[in-house]
Amino acid sequence: MENLWYVAGIIFQLWMFVVVFFIMLPAMFGLSLGVTEVYIQVLVKILEWATLRIQRGRQEQPSSPVPLHTGIIERAGGSMEEEMWQLRCSRPEGARAFCLSDGVYFCKKGLESIVEDQVTQRFSSEELASWNLLTRTNQNFYYISLRLTIIWGLGVFVRYCILLPFRIALASTGLSWLVIGTTLVGFLPESSAKNWLSELVHLTCYRICARGLSATIHYHNKENRPQKGGICVANHTTPIDVVILANDGCYAMVGQTHGGLLGILQKSMVRACPHVWFERSEMKDRNAVTRRLRHHVAAKTKLPILIFPEGTCVNNTSVMMFKKGSFEIGGTIYPVAIKYDRRFGDAFWNSSKYNIVSYLLHTMTSWAIVVNVWYLPPMTIQDGEDATQFANRVKSVIAHQGGLLDLAWDGGLKRYKVKDSLKEEQQKMYSNIIVGQNDI
């Protein structure tokens, strides 16, 4: 019995030694020991070999299926008007009148959307072009070669028995130190030293958490980093976005107060620096929310607010509609584009399918999280522009930078049905085409 305690004590001391010297100290100074880089390079070599092998295997076995990531339908692109003219070949061009073939147009559109539509595919994980040796991404399970299977098996062992415990231990260390550190800093009186210390604590602990996910983050255009008194908006893929962004700067978070573990975290964080947590009742009142955020932004000394205007997690292939509430606050908007590299692990949280614990387990048993973050030049609302147009402008900038598709659909369609007003818009568009010139 005593031996057991003794052994546990030794392990704990060893662990603390490793964490403090190899992880925490470098994290405090923003340095990197280069372990993750080496790991990623080794991984790339292995995955390249695997891709080649799979390619060769497919050529040898012509019966093996091929993943299709280019969409199943070949659409003749064009607006409603253009496509309708194409259907009406028997009519003179420009005849603005109802034609039987207009029903065919709607029929065709309807069938196309049943087979493949632009919106519902954003709420599930994207398919990979080639297998990345994780079973969960292997849609077409078939045997290629013994070596590949051995490597896969080895990968399973490494991920589950070596990486997973390490990562869990690291993540919990990081979170607990965040709570302890921010609580301690909270006891200090308000001063610049307190702010500096709180920033240090936040940064260190987020960096430890990022290492706990084997995250490799590449920041681009650091000169555009969000400044104090501004609002940072980014596309949303996962709750880990917060960790990714907070690795490089301190932000004031915005969100609902929760109970339990998350609540403890929130309470301690707000002691050290002014985050904006709302009660559930307050969230319903949009004016109250806007007022509080405006108050925060107006005090130019406070940290920039971090907001995800999509309101929900989308699968990182597109940017969905930005809710205009964040853009009505005023102040400077600092757009940030986040793009995850899916080859090393899927970071998208499908909240309708997995809960947060299984999601974290998924993430911690992937190879790594590799992400590119682009800071974009600040934008402000222009004269004659309303909040919705401004939001769309910011959205297109982010989509353009991140190589994502710019969709006007609402991310909330994940949970609720489309509004009838959108259907009426389609009807209006059609009636404009045929009635537009009033020559029935």
Partner: protein
């Protein structure tokens, strides 16, 4: 999480559907994965709500009628076939009064994958070489009954949407009624009754060739004849990649992102399927037909394993 063994598609089912509908193996597996992604209840069938969850379909003015087409009450193969036989016998008794209503309360139907494929099969364009090959041997659904159906574009479905009581003719009153309903459905409340009436009259005048003040199926097909005939396109992935309209922007990476895999390896799939370029007569912008651009190579049974590992 966990495996969805109950909804996996078996090899013999794929063969069956292939024989019946004429889709290729890879098309069937691809459509099956679409079917399962729409099936939120994971019970192997789709309900009307599952269809209405597709936003682009929900805003389509004819969306409800199209959804009805998938359910046995709409027109499954049985109703379709017997209605054609009935037509040959020259009777005008409608097969079934179908209640195509704007809202679908109380109609608790479910459609399974076979029914889904059967309805979609009505809209698969027939390839040229398939027409020349042995039509009676495999007898896909399209050519089973009447050679008019060989074209099989969405026009045949559209006719059904107009012909509500399914007597294979759009009579004058029917058309008036339907035009009003359809136009109102399609254009909302912006058009007055007089305008609707005149639209319907004019449409009948133009389309009716035999002077019986009704639009039959042939007249409908003639009136909506298309510029180009439909063809099934099976193009290579590389061709798809170069077409900006076909390919949604994906996996392009960000600007200046760190590239971990060399470019030659990344699109591993694109190099594999070069074959199956089919008969590319006219340009790929053939209007109005449902082209299914799928590589020919996927012939083996696919098991979509969702095992959490």
């Amino acid at each position: 999480m966990g495996s969805r063994a109950s909804t996996l598609l078996r090899e013999e089912e794929i063969e069956e559907i292939k024989k019946e509908t004429g889709f290729s193996h890879s098309q069937i597996t691809r459509l099956y994965s679409r079917f399962t992604s729409l099936d939120k209840g994971e019970n192997g069938t789709l309900s009307r709500e599952d269809f209405q969850r597709i936003p682009e379909l929900a805003i389509n003015p004819l969306g409800d009628r199209i959804i009805n087409a998938f359910f046995p009450e709409g027109f499954g193969t049985a109703g379709f076939r017997s209605s054609w036989r009935r037509r040959r016998r020259r009777r005008r008794r409608p097969y079934r009064r179908c209640r195509i209503t704007a809202d679908s309360e109380g109609l608790e139907d479910q459609v399974n994958f076979k029914g889904f494929m059967r309805t979609l099969a009505h809209f698969r364009p027939i390839e040229d070489n398939e027409k020349n090959k042995n039509p009676p041997a495999t007898e896909p659904l399209n050519s089973r009954t009447n050679k008019l159906l060989c074209e099989c574009t969405p026009r045949s479905l559209a006719f059904r949407l107009y012909d509500l009581d399914r007597d294979d003719k759009i009579s004058r009153d029917e058309l008036l009624q339907v035009c009003e309903a359809v136009l109102r459905m399609m254009v909302g409340v912006n058009i007055s009754d007089d305008q609707l009436g005149s639209i319907a009259d004019r449409t009948i005048q133009e389309a009716d060739t035999n002077g019986d003040s009704c639009i039959s199926f042939q007249e409908f097909m003639k009136a909506t004849r298309l510029r180009a005939t439909s063809k099934l396109r099976t193009v290579s992935h590389r061709a798809d990649v170069s077409d900006p309209d076909v390919l949604p922007l994906r996996e392009q990476g960000g600007r200046g992102g760190v590239d971990f895999m060399t470019p030659s390896l990344r699109p591993a799939v694109e190099q594999v399927s070069k074959n199956g370029v089919g008969a590319e007569g006219e340009g790929r912008r053939g209007p109005s037909s449902l082209h299914l651009a799928v590589s020919r190579r996927g012939e083996k049974g696919v098991r979509k394993s969702e095992v959490f590992l």
